[in-house]
Symmetry: C2
Subunit: 463 residues, 2 copies
């Protein structure tokens, strides 16, 4: 399977410690956070330089050896889990911050650098890197780029695609493409970085990136707001987008199904309200003047209460209270642990189609599985809804998945808002993308990786 000549070539390129085989391969290389279909790779390659990675890929390409790319292993769709006979290429030794340019507000990093390391380095320089997600301590910048990661601040700063100015990637044949642009505006030829962002390592392996930083925004102001229905939620979103002058950084809707469940199941959490409401929204603004920002938010919410858009609102009066508001939103992690087995969906739905999508999904699930649990929350301003669905029965999960993805497709939505496709969602991709799109994806894959050795079978089926 793993050609002896190739093995000795790879060992010669990588030297001691650069290649792990057999018993040296620990379990962490076998499976990503999806936890499914663990499989030990034929070897783990750990290049210490981009030149080593390029040489390794040239050798694998020559031998037709398939490779799987591994970063922090925090993906949820099996993209970094080895398939039988694949070799792993881990970027764990290609890490570190190479440059921080304070005036230009850019940072150049190697792909294996952890997201949190980048956040902290930006903060030390009085700046701010806006991408943030739960796996920040383990996930890597390379993985964030490969999956076009999202998170909580997309409404203001966009996804990872918006935060990458330039990058370097190694193509399947070992060619190093260095496109380390540091400029916000650059229309000199094709914007090649776009190919590698969000294509889950199937078109090239990202090795370096130039990231865009922002001025620090130390003052965070949060509120939980209760509304009667989805129309009011949209009216609130538009009012805050207009009147907060661009400082709105989070708009997290929690339907009663989710909110009540979190308050009930997680003992230490309390609702800021005495009564119960159909829909709650956690909003946050970020700026530099805390008192002024809070006053402005309170004034806007006062107006909306008077207009009847908002039923009740609680503005955090301290940093501690702001954190407890976020614990309600972040309670999904604990809930997920309590409710297993379940399916956690990550769909995007046009805002105008959301009410109908939620009603029809609910009734389709209920028709098949009476009493089913369906907890809903999401980044409504980004179109992104997270549904957590369970009957308590593992055997139902596949059918639940089919129902929700079918409804997503009928609503003109996407089955993958921010977690990507990987392997586990690949066979559902045609529910969100048409034949002409799939054909063009295959054209790109064929042009950049004609031997189909780079993360084969991820995103699209094998060539």
């Amino acid at each position: 399977m793993f050609d002896d000549a190739l093995k000795s070539d790879l060992r010669a390129i990588l030297g001691t410690g650069g290649m792990l085989a057999d018993a040296e391969i620990s379990q962490r290389y076998n499976v990503d956070f999806s936890g499914e279909n663990a499989c030990s790779p034929a070897a783990v390659l750990r290049p210490a330089t981009v030149a080593e990675l390029a040489a390794v890929l040239a050798a694998c390409s020559e031998a037709g050896q398939a490779v799987v790319v591994q970063g922090g292993m925090t993906g949820l769709c099996g993209g970094a889990t080895p398939q039988p006979a694949e070799i792993s290429i881990s970027l764990e030794r290609l890490c570190g911050i190479e440059q921080l340019d304070r005036d230009s507000m850019t940072m150049t990093v190697l792909a294996g650098t952890a997201l949190q390391t980048v956040q902290e380095a930006a903060a030390s320089a009085g700046l701010f890197f806006p991408l943030d997600l739960g796996a920040r301590g383990s996930c890597t910048i390379g993985g964030n780029i490969a999956t076009n990661a999202g998170g909580n601040q997309v409404i203001r700063f966009g996804m990872m695609r918006n935060l990458v100015l330039g990058l370097e990637a190694v193509l399947a044949d070992g060619t190093i493409v260095s496109s380390l642009n540091k400029l916000i505006k650059n229309n000199a030829g094709y914007d090649l970085k776009q190919l590698f962002i969000g294509s889950e390592g199937t078109l090239g392996i990202v090795t370096r990136a130039v990231l865009r930083l922002y001025p620090a925004l130390p003052a965070k102001t949060a509120a939980i707001i209760a509304v009667a229905d989805f129309d009011a939620c949209v009216a609130l979103l538009h009012a805050l987008q207009g009147r907060l002058g661009g400082s709105l950084s989070a708009f997290e809707a929690m339907w009663a199904s989710y909110f009540d469940c979190v308050i009930e199941k997680i003992g230490k959490l309390r609702s800021p309200f005495d009564g119960s409401y159909p829909l709650y929204i956690l909003v946050q603004s970020e700026g530099t003047d805390h008192a002024a920002d809070r006053e402005r938010l309170e004034m806007i919410l006062g107006d909306l209460l008077e207009q009847g858009v908002v039923l009740d609102a609680a503005v955090a009066q301290s940093e501690r209270e702001r954190e407890t508001f976020w614990q309600i939103r972040d309670g999904i992690a604990e809930i997920t642990a309590l409710l297993q087995p379940l399916v956690a969906f990550d769909v995007s739905i046009p805002i105008s189609a959301m009410p109908r999508f939620l009603a029809e999904t609910e009734s389709a699930l209920e028709a098949e599985f009476p009493g089913v649990t369906n907890l809903v929350f999401g980044h409504v301003g980004d179109n992104n809804l997270h549904l957590t669905v369970t009957t308590g029965n593992h055997a139902d999960l596949k059918q639940i998945t089919q129902i929700v993805y079918q409804e997503t497709s009928e609503a003109g939505g996407s089955i993958a808002a921010e977690h990507g496709i990987g392997v586990t969602r690949r066979d559902y991709l045609q529910l969100s993308r048409n034949e002409s799109e799939l054909a063009l994806m295959r054209t790109l894959k064929s042009a950049l990786d004609p031997k189909d050795i780079l993360n084969p079978g991820r995103v699209i089926s094998r060539l």
Copy 2:
């Protein structure tokens, strides 16, 4: 040259009025705003539907007939100017707004729709489309996408790439790729629209787009601010980006060379200051509460005056005064008419390299052309500098171009911030992009347009 069989096929597809030949071809199809190398196309095809365009391209592909794509003809780099023996495909009949979704804040339009039509339709719905440039009445959405247009509000809303959610394009062989995504977050497979944005019609012809709209921001607050040097300009930029809480929408630096020239040459304009300063910055914030926004800007500027970052500042006290501030910035149009012949550069330079770039360019130009005029202004927050250079002598323009592009390259800059490459800058492209990047561009072009019939010779040289 223009094959008779193809001609009759095209006429059959397009019908009366769909194809212009010989004397029917007016001069407006012969050259774009660059005004150079006018050339009458072999025919002008005016498809009325996307299906007609697809059939036309399939026929041209079959016959190996090169085509040039034409929108509003407002490009500055010769991209839409026919080359000998090319047929023009004009999108002028493929225009109109197909859908405006107020809740989702999206608009679906045909590619031939004028930018101003889109801006006005958004405003009528109480919303806002942020792209804005001088040619708004003539330029089309298709052209804005093909060139990834910039303009005055990039610092807040990004370039056209950030404002397009989905698109439909016809490939060289006539395949229609419909990727009319309406979602902000969608990671279901490759983000195909990125291929067509900024590739200047060389990889496909954009026919429809889903645009992202924003809540209306009726309150515009502007100021002109004087500072002593570039360091103070950067300090001001960072302070405003932080303290204006995301509402900063323009940061237009004008060096004394430009500012003094405009005030001197355009009789009706006056400086808001009695004294003279090395560098002036026009800033604008956009929100919904004019009085509060102005008060905030005045407070911030007061602090910066006290700290010595700012030497003087004038905040517009009326809408009329705000407009006069912008007339100083927009005076470049009149100046350009007065100073012909000249070269108008549109370069991007990393902020940290700008002072050195400006000094070295100035001295390299002065060494070759003593007394040369070099007016500088730009969107500093976006890295984008516009240099207007003239000796009054047409024969010097080529050498001036070479000097400025060479300095741009040495500063790690881009020769094309927002106007693209087209034909006129193609031979300088290697000053901003390396061999590996150029090779990958050619790989993409070969994969999508193997016969090189779509805008051949634009951006990259012929295959």
